[in-house]
């Protein structure tokens, strides 16, 4: 059991007030007290502190209440009061964003090179820190793999395993730091910044690894993990997911399909995911065959995910999403026999092309949630 301290209670109340202000539920001290249930002197003290730190400002007088009382002083949150750094650490690059407190991205900074991932991470943060237009509030970092309570338990970047990255970064950069898995933070980013109707969102990332990210009830619960080593066919000799969906295996499938359906639009030498989708849309049989094979794997993963989590939305992302509608349609077709129809009918399956900023933007959202209780 964790005992509430005075400081943690104050932090909780501050976040409550800010959430109410930002969401538009209340825009003056009396209304904030009413909406949050906090005593008026408590709200006044919190607002005074937030004004002193620049997060909130007074913007004039509102209208009197119906009972003809004193006109309230209107309050407004200032998203420019601080900035947040979000970084996504990937296998061959690090992508960082600088955002305001509304999560609006001002700039992106990227380092496209291999080498030590931690050096890349520090370098991106350093480059963004010199470009701050406001004091730094906090930092969010997304890493591939599984992060549990700040500890990186598994990752396809071996040098990160066993690290409490947040503590080290916080000490180095003098700001609170949150660390989570790439897919988890991408899911949070989708919920925070993309117009999705879902409350329960599962994101399946197919890239150098295969990861799943879960954000439930607007990310009150969120987590992510690498499932690339799983085998979904029930046969011990079947390749793990990460191999079944890896690009070399896709190329093999393309060669086999082109040999079976010669003279089509697809050529192994120039194929990309985008061209695969374009060829399938144009009726190319080889392309459709490859897509059906990939969809079979994704359908199995999606079916298990839907049955376990019962999400509103499953988003498949990563380079494979560039195939587009032909892949989405094939996955939907192949899930149908695997799931009871009421379950399937309640889920929306979509593809999201990788936006290299989304994981970093999600890291911003996670950091803002941790520090201010917003987004």
């Amino acid at each position: 059991m964790i005992k509430a301290t005075h400081e943690s209670l104050k932090r909780h109340n501050r976040q409550l007030v800010l959430r109410s202000l930002i969401s538009g539920q209340a825009n003056n001290r009396a209304a904030l007290a009413h909406v949050t249930g906090l005593a008026k002197p408590t709200v006044s003290d919190l607002i005074a502190e937030l004004i002193a730190h620049g997060y909130v400002r007074e913007i004039g007088l509102g209208v009197s209440t119906d009972t003809g009382g004193k006109r309230p002083t209107l309050l407004e949150f200032d998203p420019a009061a601080r900035q947040v750094i979000g970084v996504s650490l990937e296998h061959d690059c690090a992508v960082g964003v600088l955002a305001d407190l509304a999560g609006q991205i001002q700039i992106v900074h990227r380092i496209d090179s291999g080498g030590d991932p931690l050096r890349r991470l520090h370098a991106v943060i350093a480059a963004l820190r010199v470009q701050l237009d406001a004091p730094l509030l906090c930092i969010g970092v997304a890493v591939p793999g599984h992060v549990d309570g700040g500890l990186i338990r598994a990752s396809s970047l071996p040098t990160l395993i066993g690290q409490r990255l947040g503590d080290a970064l916080s000490a180095a950069h003098g700001a609170p730091v949150v660390v989570g898995s790439t897919t988890e933070y991408t899911a949070i980013g989708q919920l925070a910044f993309v117009q999705v109707q879902a409350r329960h969102l599962v994101m399946l990332l197919v890239g150098a690894t295969v990861e799943v990210g879960i954000a439930l009830v607007g990310a009150a619960y969120h987590n992510g993990s690498d499932i690339g080593s799983l085998r979904f066919t029930g046969q011990p000799t079947a390749p793990p997911l990460v191999e079944a969906l890896a690009w070399p295996r896709v190329l093999e499938r393309v060669r086999t399909a082109c040999a079976a359906h010669p003279g089509g639009l697809l050529t192994p030498e120039t194929v990309t995911y985008r061209r695969l989708g374009h060829a399938a849309t144009s009726g190319d049989a080889a392309a459709q065959r490859v897509i059906d094979e990939l969809a079979a794997v994704l359908a199995a993963v999606s079916a298990w995910t839907i049955a376990l989590i019962v999400p509103d939305q499953v988003v498949i992302t990563g380079a494979i999403a560039a195939i587009g509608a032909p892949l989405r349609d094939a996955v939907q077709r192949q899930i149908a026999p695997l799931l009871a129809s009421p379950l399937l009918e309640s889920v929306v399956l979509t593809l999201a092309e990788p936006d290299d900023r989304m994981a970093a933007a999600g890291a911003v959202a996670a950091a803002l949630r941790s520090e201010l209780g917003v987004l």
Partner: protein
Amino acid sequence: MTPSPRIAIVTTSDTDVFQQTVIAGARPVLTAAGCTVRVDVVPYGTAWYEPNGADALLVIADVLPDLALEAMLMLGVRLVLVGHHVPTLPIPAVTCSNTAGMTQLLQHVVETCGRRRLVYLRGLPGQQDAVEREHALLDTVLRCNLPAPVLLRGDFQPETAAESLAAYCDTAGAALPFDAAIGADYLMAAAALNVLINRGIRVPEHVAVAGFGDGEMAALAQITTVSINVREQGQRAARLLLAQWHGAAITGRTLLNTTLVVRATT
């Protein structure tokens, strides 16, 4: 007392709009930090640049070849590039996001305005901005299942773009095989607009016109563009340069957002 750094801004022109605006953004940041700033105008394609006592260089576009930049690094000169980046060298750069910007422009033309048959006025072959913008165009064509676009020579020169489009219209005849003309920059888009209007082609009713980047001419001609904050590029480049002067090891590329500006031509 720490000596004030001597900064040279290296450019092919201090009067062209892009370069002038970068300088206008960078200079105040540098002088406010106590730097001595000079502008060195060098011919495009200069094989070698002599720093002449400069401690740090702000290099605009690809005025200096990669070998010259590498030599500056070996001499211990701090560097920042604006409007250009060299992936193989550890020199920080500030650019706009060509891919995101061109995708944004094309999403408007294709998805909002419903155009499908594109003519594209190309930038300079092999030049980085040109390559990235054209790649984004071709990616959009595939993603939206559009017919293959017609790629016309432009070289970032309005006169060349105008000649190319006029020649294509001559061969096409009365029934135009395109419904949108996209310029790799807004000056070529403006040239395209003139060609179309002079031929009695109604814009945007028959052909939509759009271009990358924004400026006074685009606003006057009412051309839809994606705008880039060039002054901000200069400001941020100056900050990165100052950070290096103070000992920070900065690498990577800073990408600034573009903003869609919808005007009468779409």
